[in-house]
Amino acid sequence: MKWAKENLFSSWPSTVATLLIALFAVKFVPPFFHWAIGNAVWSASGPEACRAVEGRGACWAFIAEKHRFILFGTYPYSEHWRPALASLLLIALWVLSSFRGMWHWWLSLVWLSGLGLIGVLMWGGVAGLPYVENERWGGLILTLILASFGAALAFPVAILLALGRRSRLPAVRAFCVAYIELIRGVPLISVLFMASVLLPLFLPAGVSIDKLLRAQIALAAFAAAYLAEVVRGGLQAVPQHQSDSAAALGMGYWRATSLIVLPQALRASIPPLVNTFIGLFKDTSLVLIIGLFDLLSTIKVSLQDAAWSGFGVEAYLFAAAVYFVFCYAMSWYSRSLEAGPAGGAGTKQARAERDRLFASP
């Protein structure tokens, strides 16, 4: 009672707000639950049951009917366990890497072998697994692959770009600044168009790179510019005397950078790096526009089945829920790092810098 008085009815504007919210809740929440749960069709042999309650109840049967295609795209039906296992493996790798205790050099070996195993699972062609060309990969695993490989490819490039932008060499600096500002100034879709339409033009006749790889390159090239700015923020947080001391010990630029400056800079920028990675994860959905079958794309294609058309609201709520689970988990993790005892980037200045730099497209 006391709590309610303090938090809901402390002043008359607060009371009005509480009453208005209560009014809206009474008016809209029960109908929503009737639609989403009470009247919903959960499983059905055909769309007729859904048509019968159209407008009054949700058709989750659509998701149930199409879940194999949504999750695995056109991957051969009998082999669906392979992308399923690969997805779990990839998620496990991310979860493993989130623990502070795992941040050692050998983690990169774990990743390399993990990614190799995923490649074997997905392509097959060895150990009795039938070969599946990557044109047939789709669904959740494609989204996970695009995000993971995108980050893995973009990260080293981003570090070089960030170092280059702070370099004393004018040509190197100009090159890095031009790249970063160019990429950050244009929409991702134009970079994806460039990769899907222009890349084939720029290669000699007869040489072709497949669509998945082109999209992967575009996503990595795009993410690299944003990651570079985050890394630069981390580099700025390392005091000048650190590299001065390293130089005084007789270290050259590369030794000082890789052993002294970068470890501190990267540790400080992990939370904003995670935030940029969330942006990359969301951005993978844009590959739909250049015709790749990621999770969003398989959902959209499922809706084109004439028998099941018209359940877009349910389908996209499901898509939103899947993306939300992944992104929310990551943003929760990023916040827990900042709040943690050694959260180097938890300073106000670093946060402000992060907010300025982390501009999710």
Partner: protein, 314 residues
Amino acid sequence: MKKSWLYQAALLAAAGLALWYFASNAAQNLDARRIASGFGFLRREAGFEIGETSFFSYGAADTYLRALAVGLANTFRVAALGVVLATLLGTLVGLARLAPNWLLARLAGGYVEVLRNVPLLVQLFFWYALISESLPAPAEALNPMPGVYLSNRGLYFPLPGDFPELAGFNFTGGVGLTPEFAALLIGLVTYTAAFIAEIVRAGILSVPRGQVEAAYSVGLARRGAMRYVVLPLALRLVVPPLTSQYLNLTKNSSLAVAIGYPDLVSIANTTMNQTGQAIEGIALIMAVYLTISLSISLLMNWYNRRVALRGVAG
């Protein structure tokens, strides 16, 4: 010192070589496909209709140049309206997050979390599906307020002295938003507002209590303290990230191509498909967005210099 010049010369040489390699390949490939490079195609007849136009009149007999101008105008229309509405909604949500009312603050927090953690493209598809599937046909349009009609053919609002009326299969009069435009606008505004809310919240929290108390103690009233102390301090922190959100909104409006709103990217895409002039089309898209981005950042730098606190570090 010598070594550094070697590095730079190597970088420039590599970049130049790559450029020359790509250009010569492109020239060969274009030759093989019999595509003439250059912007001459802009004067040719476009031959496609555009669903909605703003500022320019347009017909299928007009040139590609005019079609692209219509696309650019459509981009500006949705971006300008989006920026204004997203600022309003974002400020409200940001203030609500700091409200003493527990329910209101929680609601605003939930809004920010949900909207920020779902890809914009999913949200656009959702709004488009909601409008085109869940709203009734124009004859049974929802009429939540006098003069406001919501149907699967678009959202119609009244103007003073000009009310929408049902004529045939759709409404005429008032201000009408097509389903595509409405979905894009709602999606961009609600998504960007979530980011703006966080910026506004951080800006307000950044003003130390001591500053406000000091303002009161030198005799400023509440309004004066707001006007001369709190707002100038908060705005210094808020304006730069806010501008970057405006830029994001403008760049994100290019997702229009996925739901069929004829913005610049969507029309350039059609143009590229029809003429095969991919290099020119993409160069055009990039040039337009770069011009917008760079002019805004120049403006930002000028503003930052103008408002920079003198004699205070940071």
